[in-house]
């Protein structure tokens, strides 16, 4: 178990290793993520034997107000990740989709196009295997693989650990490839600047209606595999209309990662978003995970 935050239960692995060691004291003072933002000691904050806190003479069945967001802890880690990324002028994008939409191929070809021009880094999330991180590294970008085990999504705490293992150059673009799943990743903020949802034309054009939470949370929809449009029954206009019905502000770009069509529009979008992040870094401030409460 991680000795600082008590994480390490469960099956999450980063680069094949369980979260069993404190990777908190990374270079560059990157230890804030696991500052327990409260006055209690670590043991008191994470009681492994809650019975020891039994107080005698307490009336039976008393009510205790909690009023805390269930995801407060995740949101605290996400805020810390976001603060770190923003201070360094790093554009972090959370790529979400169904399995098989072509996320990794799109990433590999995006890396090939940006290689040598923009510093890049990738966090790969999958239930099992390091195949995707290997593909990304072969394409020339540093990558960290998170295996979620039984988990169906990445959370901000795992991403914080992965960030500790990446050399993140100022001005980088960081792609976080989430577990292929159009449901759960919508609820878990990772600290990204934006979610990008990838819908391939081999899926149904009604996916935005079937999985509205994800399409509402995304800033950009990439319509991938457009080279296959002549061979499949997929109405691009209907798909766009469905996405805008759920999220009127969503931007839509058609691409084909394999043929390269539309890639210039996607790269232009990336350049614009990156410029905004690099140009407007927030002032230096203490990164305290404000949502984390004891």
């Amino acid at each position: 178990m991680c000795t600082t935050c008590g994480c390490g239960q469960g099956e999450t692995r980063i680069e094949g290793r369980r979260l069993t060691e404190p990777v908190h004291a990374g270079a560059g003072g990157r230890i804030y993520r696991h500052v327990h933002a409260h006055d209690e000691s670590h043991d008191a904050a994470h009681p492994h034997h809650p019975l020891q806190f039994h107080a005698h003479g307490m009336p039976q069945g008393r009510r205790v107000k909690i009023e805390q967001d269930i995801l407060a802890r995740n949101n605290g880690y996400a805020a810390a990740n976001r603060s770190l990324l923003e201070r360094r002028g790093i554009l972090a994008l959370n790529l979400v989709s169904s399995p098989g939409s072509g996320k990794t191929t799109l990433l590999v070809n995006t890396i090939a196009a940006l290689q040598g021009r923009v510093p890049l880094a990738v966090i790969e999330g999958d239930q099992q295997t390091a195949h995707d991180a290997e593909r990304i590294r072969a394409a020339g970008a540093p990558a960290v693989q998170i295996n979620t085990g039984k988990g169906c999504h990445l959370d901000a705490h795992m991403v914080g650990h992965a960030l500790d293992r990446l050399e993140l150059m100022p001005g980088s673009v960081l792609f976080i490839e989430n577990v292929g799943n159009l449901v759960c990743p919508a609820a878990f903020d990772l600290g990204e600047a934006a979610k990008v949802v990838i819908l391939s034309v081999t899926e149904g054009e009604d996916k935005p209606l079937k999985y509205p939470d994800m399409f509402r949370a995304a800033r950009l929809m990439l319509l991938n595999k457009c080279d296959l449009l002549p061979y499949v029954q997929f109405d691009v206009e209907r798909a766009a209309e469905h996405a805008r019905r759920i999220n009127p502000a969503i931007e839509i770009i058609r691409v084909s990662a394999t043929s390269g069509a539309g890639m210039e529009d996607w790269l232009a979008w990336l350049a614009r978003e990156r410029t905004a992040v690099v140009r407007d870094p927030p002032p230096e401030r203490e990164a305290v995970p404000s949502g984390v409460q004891g």
Partner: protein
Amino acid sequence: MHELSLAEHVLQLMEEAAARQGFSRVRGVWLEIGQLAAVEVEALRFAFESVARGSLADGAALHVIELPGQGWCARCAATVHVGEQPAACPRCGSPGVQILGGTEMRVKELEVE
């Protein structure tokens, strides 16, 4: 599937509250879950029962207060109920209803001893 992680988060909040406030058992927990929070309440109940087993909340009753989806329709200039198709106004059908409420996932209160 993420109901399981939500249940684990709920248990964690309870353990932290136990440490702060000095109680050793949780008999009941009240959650507020919005209709637009993408939480399947029955799945959450099932997951909670499993994760609570052997913990300070073993056998605790789970009370779920469901909060309605609410949004603001600019065309109607009114607060409207938002349900299945969250972005469309149920009155005039116009898209782009701004979500005001219904995405909550909160631990509201505990009954402890």
